[in-house]
Protein backbone atom coordinates (compact mmCIF):
# COMPACT_ATOMS: atom_id res chain seq x y z
CA UNK A 1 0.00 0.00 0.00
CA UNK A 2 1.35 3.41 -0.94
CA UNK A 3 2.10 5.87 1.86
CA UNK A 4 2.75 8.72 -0.53
CA UNK A 5 0.42 11.58 -1.30
CA UNK A 6 -0.51 13.26 -4.55
CA UNK A 7 0.89 16.68 -5.34
CA UNK A 8 -1.76 19.27 -4.60
CA UNK A 9 -1.34 22.71 -6.17
CA UNK A 10 -3.23 24.60 -3.49
CA UNK A 11 -4.48 23.08 -0.23
CA UNK A 12 -7.97 24.56 -0.47
CA UNK A 13 -11.38 23.16 0.42
CA UNK A 14 -12.37 23.01 -3.26
CA UNK A 15 -9.35 20.82 -3.88
CA UNK A 16 -10.48 18.56 -1.03
CA UNK A 17 -14.00 18.25 -2.48
CA UNK A 18 -12.58 17.45 -5.93
CA UNK A 19 -10.28 14.85 -4.46
CA UNK A 20 -13.12 13.18 -2.57
CA UNK A 21 -15.12 12.93 -5.81
CA UNK A 22 -12.11 11.45 -7.58
CA UNK A 23 -11.71 8.81 -4.87
CA UNK A 24 -15.37 7.84 -5.27
CA UNK A 25 -14.96 7.48 -9.04
CA UNK A 26 -11.69 5.58 -8.60
CA UNK A 27 -13.38 3.12 -6.24
CA UNK A 28 -16.17 2.57 -8.75
CA UNK A 29 -13.68 2.04 -11.54
CA UNK A 30 -11.86 -0.41 -9.31
CA UNK A 31 -15.12 -2.33 -8.71
CA UNK A 32 -15.92 -2.42 -12.43
CA UNK A 33 -12.45 -3.69 -13.28
CA UNK A 34 -12.52 -6.23 -10.47
CA UNK A 35 -15.86 -7.62 -11.65
CA UNK A 36 -14.52 -7.88 -15.17
CA UNK A 37 -11.40 -9.58 -13.85
CA UNK A 38 -13.52 -12.13 -11.98
CA UNK A 39 -15.51 -12.95 -15.12
CA UNK A 40 -12.37 -13.22 -17.25
CA UNK A 41 -10.63 -15.39 -14.65
CA UNK A 42 -13.63 -17.71 -14.41
CA UNK A 43 -13.72 -18.05 -18.18
CA UNK A 44 -9.99 -18.71 -18.26
CA UNK A 45 -10.13 -21.39 -15.58
CA UNK A 46 -13.03 -23.11 -17.32
CA UNK A 47 -11.19 -23.05 -20.63
CA UNK A 48 -8.04 -24.45 -19.04
CA UNK A 49 -10.01 -27.34 -17.52
CA UNK A 50 -11.62 -27.94 -20.92
CA UNK A 51 -8.21 -27.90 -22.62
CA UNK A 52 -6.77 -30.52 -20.26
CA UNK A 53 -9.81 -32.74 -20.68
CA UNK A 54 -9.89 -32.30 -24.46
CA UNK A 55 -6.19 -33.12 -24.79
CA UNK A 56 -6.70 -36.36 -22.93
CA UNK A 57 -9.72 -37.24 -25.04
CA UNK A 58 -7.85 -36.45 -28.26
CA UNK A 59 -4.96 -38.70 -27.24
CA UNK A 60 -7.32 -41.54 -26.37
CA UNK A 61 -9.31 -41.04 -29.56
CA UNK A 62 -6.19 -41.09 -31.75
CA UNK A 63 -5.21 -44.47 -30.38
CA UNK A 64 -8.73 -45.82 -30.83
CA UNK A 65 -8.99 -44.52 -34.41
CA UNK A 66 -5.56 -45.85 -35.36
CA UNK A 67 -6.41 -49.35 -34.18
CA UNK A 68 -9.78 -49.31 -36.00
CA UNK A 69 -8.11 -48.03 -39.18
CA UNK A 70 -5.45 -50.73 -39.11
CA UNK A 71 -8.10 -53.41 -38.64
CA UNK A 72 -10.28 -52.05 -41.46
CA UNK A 73 -7.37 -51.73 -43.93
CA UNK A 74 -6.85 -55.46 -43.55
CA UNK A 75 -10.44 -56.05 -44.74
CA UNK A 76 -10.84 -53.56 -47.60
CA UNK A 77 -8.96 -52.12 -50.55
CA UNK A 78 -7.44 -48.66 -49.67
CA UNK A 79 -8.88 -47.02 -52.84
CA UNK A 80 -12.37 -48.19 -51.87
CA UNK A 81 -11.78 -46.84 -48.38
CA UNK A 82 -10.82 -43.48 -49.83
CA UNK A 83 -13.90 -43.29 -52.04
CA UNK A 84 -16.08 -44.18 -49.05
CA UNK A 85 -14.47 -41.41 -46.97
CA UNK A 86 -15.10 -38.89 -49.77
CA UNK A 87 -18.74 -39.81 -50.32
CA UNK A 88 -19.79 -40.32 -46.71
CA UNK A 89 -21.32 -36.83 -46.50
CA UNK A 90 -22.65 -34.44 -49.14
CA UNK A 91 -20.48 -31.65 -47.80
CA UNK A 92 -18.04 -31.18 -44.91
CA UNK A 93 -16.93 -27.69 -44.04
CA UNK A 94 -14.91 -26.06 -41.32
CA UNK A 95 -16.33 -22.74 -40.19
CA UNK A 96 -13.80 -20.40 -38.60
CA UNK A 97 -15.12 -17.22 -37.07
CA UNK A 98 -14.78 -15.22 -33.91
CA UNK A 99 -16.90 -14.36 -30.94
CA UNK A 100 -16.61 -12.00 -28.01
CA UNK A 101 -16.22 -13.08 -24.40
CA UNK A 102 -16.32 -10.26 -21.83
CA UNK A 103 -14.81 -7.80 -24.29
CA UNK A 104 -12.15 -10.18 -25.61
CA UNK A 105 -12.25 -11.52 -29.16
CA UNK A 106 -11.70 -15.28 -29.27
CA UNK A 107 -11.87 -17.73 -32.18
CA UNK A 108 -14.78 -20.02 -32.92
CA UNK A 109 -14.24 -23.22 -34.92
CA UNK A 110 -17.07 -25.46 -36.00
CA UNK A 111 -17.11 -28.51 -38.26
CA UNK A 112 -20.35 -28.91 -40.17
CA UNK A 113 -21.44 -31.97 -42.09
CA UNK A 114 -24.34 -31.75 -44.52
CA UNK A 115 -26.67 -34.66 -45.00
CA UNK A 116 -26.96 -37.92 -43.12
CA UNK A 117 -23.88 -40.21 -43.17
CA UNK A 118 -24.06 -42.84 -45.92
CA UNK A 119 -23.59 -46.20 -44.26
CA UNK A 120 -24.04 -48.99 -46.75
CA UNK A 121 -23.98 -52.73 -45.86
CA UNK A 122 -21.50 -53.33 -48.69
CA UNK A 123 -18.77 -51.77 -46.51
CA UNK A 124 -17.42 -53.55 -43.45
CA UNK A 125 -18.69 -52.40 -40.04
CA UNK A 126 -15.13 -51.74 -38.89
CA UNK A 127 -14.74 -49.15 -41.65
CA UNK A 128 -17.89 -47.34 -40.54
CA UNK A 129 -16.75 -47.42 -36.93
CA UNK A 130 -13.36 -46.03 -37.98
CA UNK A 131 -15.10 -43.21 -39.92
CA UNK A 132 -17.23 -42.28 -36.94
CA UNK A 133 -14.14 -42.35 -34.73
CA UNK A 134 -12.23 -40.03 -37.05
CA UNK A 135 -15.22 -37.67 -37.28
CA UNK A 136 -15.26 -37.36 -33.51
CA UNK A 137 -11.49 -36.86 -33.53
CA UNK A 138 -11.80 -34.00 -36.02
CA UNK A 139 -14.50 -32.37 -33.88
CA UNK A 140 -12.40 -32.73 -30.73
CA UNK A 141 -9.28 -31.34 -32.42
CA UNK A 142 -11.17 -28.34 -33.75
CA UNK A 143 -12.58 -27.66 -30.30
CA UNK A 144 -9.15 -28.07 -28.70
CA UNK A 145 -7.60 -25.57 -31.13
CA UNK A 146 -10.35 -23.08 -30.37
CA UNK A 147 -9.96 -23.50 -26.61
CA UNK A 148 -6.15 -23.15 -26.63
CA UNK A 149 -6.21 -20.02 -28.79
CA UNK A 150 -8.87 -18.54 -26.50
CA UNK A 151 -6.71 -19.27 -23.45
CA UNK A 152 -3.83 -17.23 -24.90
CA UNK A 153 -6.02 -14.22 -25.61
CA UNK A 154 -7.93 -14.32 -22.36
CA UNK A 155 -4.70 -14.74 -20.42
CA UNK A 156 -3.27 -11.57 -21.95
CA UNK A 157 -6.42 -9.62 -21.13
CA UNK A 158 -6.49 -10.96 -17.55
CA UNK A 159 -2.88 -9.78 -17.07
CA UNK A 160 -3.73 -6.32 -18.43
CA UNK A 161 -6.83 -5.88 -16.26
CA UNK A 162 -5.04 -7.25 -13.19
CA UNK A 163 -2.28 -4.64 -13.59
CA UNK A 164 -4.89 -1.87 -13.65
CA UNK A 165 -6.75 -3.28 -10.64
CA UNK A 166 -3.52 -3.52 -8.66
CA UNK A 167 -2.48 0.00 -9.67
CA UNK A 168 -5.78 1.38 -8.45
CA UNK A 169 -5.90 -0.72 -5.29
CA UNK A 170 -2.29 -0.30 -4.15
CA UNK A 171 -1.18 3.02 -5.56
CA UNK A 172 -3.77 5.49 -6.78
CA UNK A 173 -6.57 5.10 -4.23
CA UNK A 174 -4.26 4.96 -1.17
CA UNK A 175 -2.39 8.05 -2.43
CA UNK A 176 -5.62 9.94 -2.87
CA UNK A 177 -6.85 8.89 0.58
CA UNK A 178 -3.53 9.93 2.13
CA UNK A 179 -3.79 13.29 0.38
CA UNK A 180 -7.32 13.75 1.73
CA UNK A 181 -6.11 12.96 5.26
CA UNK A 182 -3.21 15.38 4.82
CA UNK A 183 -5.50 18.16 3.59
CA UNK A 184 -7.97 17.60 6.44
CA UNK A 185 -5.11 17.69 8.90
CA UNK A 186 -3.86 20.93 7.31
CA UNK A 187 -7.30 22.54 7.61
CA UNK A 188 -7.62 21.47 11.24
CA UNK A 189 -4.21 22.92 11.97
CA UNK A 190 -5.13 26.13 10.21
CA UNK A 191 -8.33 26.34 12.24
CA UNK A 192 -6.40 25.82 15.49
CA UNK A 193 -3.88 28.48 14.48
CA UNK A 194 -6.72 30.87 13.71
CA UNK A 195 -8.31 30.18 17.10
CA UNK A 196 -5.10 30.79 19.01
CA UNK A 197 -4.41 33.90 16.92
CA UNK A 198 -7.88 35.24 17.70
CA UNK A 199 -7.33 34.56 21.41
CA UNK A 200 -4.02 36.40 21.38
CA UNK A 201 -5.54 39.33 19.52
CA UNK A 202 -8.40 39.49 22.03
CA UNK A 203 -5.90 39.38 24.90
CA UNK A 204 -3.83 42.18 23.33
CA UNK A 205 -6.96 44.25 22.71
CA UNK A 206 -8.19 43.62 26.25
CA UNK A 207 -4.78 44.66 27.63
CA UNK A 208 -4.79 47.81 25.49
CA UNK A 209 -8.29 48.69 26.67
CA UNK A 210 -7.14 48.09 30.24
CA UNK A 211 -4.15 50.41 29.92
CA UNK A 212 -6.23 53.06 28.18
CA UNK A 213 -8.89 53.02 30.90
CA UNK A 214 -6.17 53.06 33.60
CA UNK A 215 -4.52 56.11 32.06
CA UNK A 216 -7.87 57.97 31.76
Amino acid sequence: MSQQTLRVTRPTKIELIRLKKRVKVAKRLHKVLKDRLIILTQELIMLMKDAVELRQRVCDKVQECESLLIKSTSLIDPSLMESYARTRYDKVEGVIGSRVVAGVRVPLIEVRREGAPRESPKYPILLMLASRCFEELVDLTARLGEVEASITRLGAEVARVKRRVNALENVLIPRMENTIKFLEFKFEEREREDKTRMKKVKQILARKEGTVSAST
Binding site: V25, R28, I39, Q42, E43, V95, G97, V101, E110
Partner: protein
Amino acid sequence: MERLLRDELKAVNYMLPKKRKNLKELLNEEYPHVPLRDGSAHMFRYSELQKACNILGDELCGNLLLPIILEMRPELKEVVAEVEDPIAIKLICRVLNINEPESPPLRLYPIHLRVLRQEIGTLLMYAISFRRVLGEEL
Protein backbone atom coordinates in the same frame (compact mmCIF):
# COMPACT_ATOMS: atom_id res chain seq x y z
CA MET B 1 -10.48 9.66 -13.37
CA GLU B 2 -13.99 10.08 -14.82
CA ARG B 3 -12.45 9.90 -18.28
CA LEU B 4 -10.68 6.67 -17.32
CA LEU B 5 -13.92 5.18 -16.03
CA ARG B 6 -15.84 6.18 -19.14
CA ASP B 7 -13.06 4.84 -21.40
CA GLU B 8 -12.99 1.54 -19.54
CA LEU B 9 -16.76 1.15 -19.76
CA LYS B 10 -16.63 2.10 -23.44
CA ALA B 11 -13.96 -0.56 -24.05
CA VAL B 12 -16.04 -3.24 -22.34
CA ASN B 13 -19.31 -2.20 -23.95
CA TYR B 14 -17.82 -1.39 -27.36
CA MET B 15 -18.11 -5.00 -28.41
CA LEU B 16 -21.85 -5.14 -27.79
CA PRO B 17 -24.14 -5.89 -30.72
CA LYS B 18 -25.32 -3.08 -32.96
CA LYS B 19 -28.40 -5.08 -33.83
CA ARG B 20 -29.80 -8.27 -32.34
CA LYS B 21 -31.48 -11.00 -34.38
CA ASN B 22 -34.09 -13.55 -33.43
CA LEU B 23 -33.35 -17.25 -33.12
CA LYS B 24 -35.35 -18.34 -36.17
CA GLU B 25 -33.56 -15.79 -38.35
CA LEU B 26 -30.18 -17.01 -37.12
CA LEU B 27 -31.05 -20.67 -37.72
CA ASN B 28 -31.82 -19.83 -41.34
CA GLU B 29 -28.46 -18.14 -41.87
CA GLU B 30 -25.53 -20.08 -43.22
CA TYR B 31 -23.08 -18.41 -40.83
CA PRO B 32 -25.19 -17.08 -37.95
CA HIS B 33 -23.72 -13.89 -36.57
CA VAL B 34 -24.61 -10.39 -35.36
CA PRO B 35 -22.76 -7.17 -36.22
CA LEU B 36 -21.03 -5.40 -33.32
CA ARG B 37 -20.57 -1.71 -32.61
CA ASP B 38 -16.85 -1.86 -33.40
CA GLY B 39 -17.57 -3.13 -36.94
CA SER B 40 -16.72 -6.77 -36.32
CA ALA B 41 -19.11 -9.69 -35.86
CA HIS B 42 -19.98 -12.15 -33.12
CA MET B 43 -20.65 -15.66 -34.39
CA PHE B 44 -22.87 -18.23 -32.79
CA ARG B 45 -22.34 -21.97 -32.66
CA TYR B 46 -25.03 -23.62 -34.77
CA SER B 47 -25.39 -26.55 -32.37
CA GLU B 48 -26.11 -24.14 -29.49
CA LEU B 49 -28.74 -22.34 -31.55
CA GLN B 50 -30.44 -25.65 -32.27
CA LYS B 51 -30.25 -26.61 -28.61
CA ALA B 52 -31.89 -23.30 -27.61
CA CYS B 53 -34.65 -23.83 -30.20
CA ASN B 54 -35.29 -27.36 -28.96
CA ILE B 55 -35.52 -26.13 -25.36
CA LEU B 56 -37.85 -23.23 -26.11
CA GLY B 57 -40.02 -24.83 -28.75
CA ASP B 58 -41.03 -23.48 -32.17
CA GLU B 59 -43.45 -20.88 -30.81
CA LEU B 60 -40.92 -18.94 -28.77
CA CYS B 61 -38.00 -19.40 -31.19
CA GLY B 62 -39.06 -16.39 -33.22
CA ASN B 63 -39.32 -14.18 -30.13
CA LEU B 64 -35.90 -14.80 -28.61
CA LEU B 65 -33.44 -12.04 -29.48
CA LEU B 66 -29.79 -13.02 -29.53
CA PRO B 67 -27.26 -12.54 -28.10
CA ILE B 68 -28.66 -12.60 -24.58
CA ILE B 69 -27.19 -9.62 -22.76
CA LEU B 70 -26.06 -10.30 -19.20
CA GLU B 71 -25.93 -6.94 -17.46
CA MET B 72 -23.28 -6.78 -14.74
CA ARG B 73 -24.02 -4.66 -11.67
CA PRO B 74 -20.74 -3.49 -10.18
CA GLU B 75 -22.40 -1.43 -7.43
CA LEU B 76 -23.44 -4.64 -5.65
CA LYS B 77 -20.95 -6.39 -3.42
CA GLU B 78 -21.26 -9.79 -5.18
CA VAL B 79 -20.74 -10.54 -8.86
CA VAL B 80 -24.31 -10.54 -10.16
CA ALA B 81 -25.59 -10.60 -13.74
CA GLU B 82 -29.13 -9.55 -14.59
CA VAL B 83 -31.32 -10.55 -17.51
CA GLU B 84 -34.35 -8.46 -18.41
CA ASP B 85 -35.76 -10.16 -21.52
CA PRO B 86 -38.62 -12.53 -20.48
CA ILE B 87 -37.99 -15.08 -23.27
CA ALA B 88 -34.29 -15.17 -22.44
CA ILE B 89 -35.25 -15.67 -18.78
CA LYS B 90 -37.39 -18.67 -19.82
CA LEU B 91 -34.53 -20.21 -21.76
CA ILE B 92 -31.99 -19.66 -18.99
CA CYS B 93 -34.31 -21.07 -16.31
CA ARG B 94 -34.93 -24.17 -18.40
CA VAL B 95 -31.19 -24.67 -19.03
CA LEU B 96 -30.39 -24.21 -15.34
CA ASN B 97 -33.47 -26.14 -14.23
CA ILE B 98 -34.59 -23.39 -11.82
CA ASN B 99 -37.91 -21.65 -11.25
CA GLU B 100 -38.67 -18.49 -13.19
CA PRO B 101 -38.84 -15.28 -11.11
CA GLU B 102 -42.24 -13.63 -10.65
CA SER B 103 -41.07 -10.53 -12.46
CA PRO B 104 -37.89 -9.63 -14.36
CA PRO B 105 -34.97 -9.21 -13.91
CA LEU B 106 -33.46 -12.64 -13.33
CA ARG B 107 -30.33 -12.49 -11.17
CA LEU B 108 -27.53 -14.90 -11.96
CA TYR B 109 -24.59 -15.74 -9.74
CA PRO B 110 -21.20 -17.19 -10.74
CA ILE B 111 -22.35 -20.77 -10.26
CA HIS B 112 -25.19 -20.21 -12.75
CA LEU B 113 -22.88 -18.45 -15.20
CA ARG B 114 -20.55 -21.46 -15.18
CA VAL B 115 -23.32 -23.82 -16.29
CA LEU B 116 -24.65 -21.37 -18.89
CA ARG B 117 -21.19 -20.94 -20.42
CA GLN B 118 -20.89 -24.67 -20.93
CA GLU B 119 -24.35 -25.10 -22.43
CA ILE B 120 -25.04 -21.93 -24.46
CA GLY B 121 -21.80 -19.96 -24.16
CA THR B 122 -21.87 -18.32 -27.60
CA LEU B 123 -25.43 -17.05 -27.08
CA LEU B 124 -24.40 -14.84 -24.13
CA MET B 125 -22.65 -11.48 -23.93
CA TYR B 126 -21.67 -9.39 -20.91
CA ALA B 127 -22.37 -5.69 -20.56
CA ILE B 128 -21.51 -3.39 -17.70
CA SER B 129 -24.30 -0.99 -16.96
CA PHE B 130 -23.14 2.61 -17.55
CA ARG B 131 -25.88 4.62 -15.91
CA ARG B 132 -25.90 2.60 -12.70
CA VAL B 133 -22.16 2.82 -12.17
CA LEU B 134 -21.84 6.56 -12.63
CA GLY B 135 -25.12 7.31 -10.82
CA GLU B 136 -26.32 10.72 -9.90
CA GLU B 137 -23.52 11.66 -7.52
CA LEU B 138 -21.17 12.54 -10.32
